[in-house]
Symmetry: C2
Subunit: 368 residues, 2 copies
C-alpha cells in the first residue's frame, strides 16, 4: 500500500549536489545564520535545480509540531460556519499553517477516536467551530484542550477562552432597534440550541427587560427552513405580534414567506428581522433587516490566538494548566462580567445592524 510514489529530492540530494554537508543545507533552510556567502549560493542553486522543498512531515516529526490548525465542527454548511472557515484559512495561510477540517456528527459515534487521531497529527492548535452550540462538541473541548491550544468559536458572547461572535450584542441591538421603531414588544423565533446562555436570544431578552416589554417564550425553529414558514403562518393568528426577530436570515425568509402566504404584509403588518448578514437577504422580497457578523474576522482572530498561544516562547512554564481550561470558563461567566469585558473593548469585532425593507414602524391601529 501507500508506497509507489516516487520520492521527491531530499536534503541529502541537495547536500550532495552542492558539495556540502546535510547540516549546512539545513542551516541554509532555516534562516542561514552562520553561513558563508559561498555555501549559500551553491546551496541555493542546488535547491533551485532540484526544485527541492523540505519535507514538512519530517520537520513535524522532529519538532513534534505539524504546522497546521485543526478545525473541528459539526457542520460547515451554514453561512456562518463557512465564512468562519474561510476566515480561518486565509489567516492560517499568512502564517503558513495548513488547515485541516474535521466534522464530528451529532451521532456520538467514535468522536473520541476521531479526536485522538487529530491530536496525533500534532497541529499547532485546534479551533472548535460550534456555531450550533452542539453540546457534543463542547463536551470534548476540555479533553482536546488538555493536549492542544484550543479556542472555541461559538454563538456565545463571552470573554475569555472563546471568541465572541457578538451574538449577544446583536440580539440586543436588533431588538432595541425594533422597539425604537415603536413596536410594543418583539417576538423571537430561535434557531436550534439558541436558547442557551449568552446568545442572540439572551440579548433579545435583555433588551426587552430593559424596555419593560412583555416577553413571550421564543418559538424554536429547526435547520429546515420550511419549519420557519409554518411558524410564520402560525404567528399570523396573533394580531398583536407586530415584530419578529428570527434567529438567522434564512429563518427570517421562511417566516416572512409564511406571513405573506397568510395574506399579511411585511413590514406593514409585521416587521421581521434576521441575523448573520447572509447576502441572500439583500435580494429577497422584501429584503431582510439583519445583524451582520464579521465571521471572517473572527476566524482570523481565532488563528492569531493560536499563533500567539503562551508557550515555551513567551512564558516557558505557563502552558498547560493555564491555557487548558479557558475554554470552559464560559460556564462560570455571568452577564455582568460580560458587560464588563465588553466595556474593556477586548476582542471587539466590527459587526453592525443592516436595516432593509423587512422592518418598519408598526401600522397605526396595530400594536397592542
Amino acid at each position: 500500500m501507500a508506497a509507489g510514489r516516487k520520492r521527491a529530492p531530499s536534503i541529502k540530494d541537495v547536500a550532495r549536489k552542492a558539495g556540502v554537508s546535510v547540516s549546512t543545507v539545513s542551516r541554509y533552510l532555516n534562516g542561514g545564520r552562520n553561513l558563508s556567502e559561498g555555501k549559500r549560493k551553491v546551496i541555493a542553486e542546488a535547491v533551485e535545480d532540484l526544485n527541492y522543498r523540505p519535507n514538512t512531515i519530517a520537520r513535524a516529526l522532529v519538532s513534534n509540531e505539524f504546522q497546521s490548525i485543526a478545525v473541528i465542527a459539526t457542520d460547515i454548511s451554514l453561512y456562518g460556519s463557512m465564512q468562519l472557515l474561510q476566515g480561518i484559512e486565509l489567516a492560517a495561510r499568512r502564517r503558513h499553517y495548513l488547515v485541516t477540517v474535521t466534522l464530528v456528527g451529532n451521532g456520538h459515534e467514535k468522536v473520541k477516536e476521531t479526536v485522538d487521531q487529530l491530536i496525533q497529527n500534532r497541529p499547532v492548535g485546534c479551533i472548535i467551530l460550534d456555531v450550533e452550540r452542539s453540546s457534543l462538541l463542547h463536551s470534548f473541548a476540555g479533553y482536546i484542550a488538555q493536549s492542544l491550544p484550543t479556542v472555541i468559536v461559538d454563538e456565545a458572547d463571552l470573554a475569555s477562552g472563546s471568541l465572541r461572535v457578538g451574538a449577544y450584542e446583536g440580539g440586543y441591538q436588533i431588538t432595541k432597534y425594533l422597539l425604537r421603531l415603536g413596536h410594543k414588544t418583539v417576538f423571537h423565533v430561535s434557531i436550534p440550541e439558541d436558547d442557551k446562555k449568552f446568545t442572540r436570544c439572551l440579548g433579545w431578552r435583555r433588551a426587552l427587560e430593559e424596555a419593560g416589554a412583555p416577553i413571550e417564550e421564543p418559538l424554536p425553529c429547526t435547520w429546515d427552513f420550511r419549519k420557519a414558514e409554518q411558524i410564520g403562518r402560525y404567528l399570523c393568528s396573533f394580531p398583536e405580534i407586530t415584530a419578529i426577530f428570527a434567529g438567522n436570515d434564512e429563518v427570517a425568509a421562511g417566516v416572512i414567506r409564511g406571513i405573506l402566504l397568510e395574506g399579511k404584509k411585511v413590514p406593514e403588518d409585521v416587521s421581521v428581522a434576521g441575523f448573520d448578514g447572509n447576502p441572500i437577504g439583500e435580494v429577497t422580497v422584501p429584503s431582510i433587516t439583519t445583524w451582520r457578523q464579521n465571521f471572517q474576522g473572527i476566524g482570523a482572530k481565532a488563528v492569531e490566538r493560536l499563533a500567539h498561544w503562551p508557550d515555551s516562547d513567551d512564558q516557558p512554564e505557563t502552558k498547560g494548566v493555564d491555557g487548558t481550561h479557558k475554554a470552559s470558563e464560559e460556564e462560570e461567566l455571568d452577564l455582568d462580567q460580560l458587560q464588563q469585558s465588553r466595556a474593556m473593548g477586548d476582542e471587539q469585532i466590527s459587526s453592525r445592524l443592516i436595516i432593509r425593507e423587512s422592518t418598519a414602524p408598526p401600522q397605526s391601529g396595530h400594536g397592542r
Copy 2:
C-alpha cells in the same frame, strides 16, 4: 519555538511497559499477524493504560504518505463548494483520511509556493474544487497531477479525469422544461465563468438549438447578487422575455427581485428558474424552481476516486503518466463524447429538477 509541548507516549513506552520489543508492538498495531495471544494481550493493556495512539506523522514519514486529502479551491463560500467540501469530509472520514483545505486567491500571488508546500505534505491525493471554473486553478491542475493523484470537480460535465457535477445536463433539462411550458425561448443570466465549455450554459444552448428556439447571448452576473437585481429590472424592458434561466438560485432570487420591483409578476409575467438546489429557494416568495445537484455525493465520489487510484496496489507500474494528465483531457472532449459517456451511465449521480412557484406557462397574449 514549537517545542514545549509534552511528548505523548511513544511506541517505545508501550514496548517497555509490555515487556516486548518495539517491532512486536508495531506488529500489533498493524493488524497483528504472527502474534501470540499472550503478547497481544499484554500489549493491548499497555496501549490502554498509556492511552497510546500511534504518531501519524512518524508513520507518514516512513510510508511517504500522509493519510489526508488536500482540497484546493478559490472560494468555499458558495453553496455548491460548501456542500462539496462537506461531502468530501464525510467520505474521507470513513477512510480515516484527514482533509485539508487550501484557498488560492485569484490574485496569482504565490500560488506555486502554496501548491508546492501542499505537495510536500504528501497527501493521498488532491481534489481541486473549482466550482467557479477559475482558470488559475485549472492551470495548476496539470502541475499538481504530476506529483499527486488529482481529481478536478468543476461545473463541467465531462467524463474522464474530472467528476461531472451534471451542470450540462441540468442546464439542458431545465431549459427543456421551460420550453415545454410553452415559452418561445429562454433567456439566460449566467454566473461568472459560466460561459465556457460544457457548463449549464452549454446545456441551455443545446436545448434551445434542439427546439429551434431563438438564442440571445446570456447576460453575465457577478457574485454580487445585487447585480442580478439590476439585470432583472433591465430585462423587464423586453416584454418578449417570458422565461429566464439563472445561473444559480441566488442569482435567480436577485433577478426575481428586480422584476418584482419593476411591478411585474413572477411567474405570471415571467418565469424564473435557478440552479443548484439551494434550500433558500424553498422559502423565498415565490419559491424558486431549480435543478438540484447532489454535491455531497459528488464530493464523496471524488474521495473514492482518489482512494482507488491505480497505484502500486492495483497496477504496479501504471501510475504516473496514466493518472497524470487525465485532468486536462477535458480540453479535448467534445459534446458527442460527452453524450456517449453519459449514455454509458458512468459516474452518474442523482440530480433532478425541482419545480416550484417561480415558473409557469406564459400568460396568453405574451410570448412572441
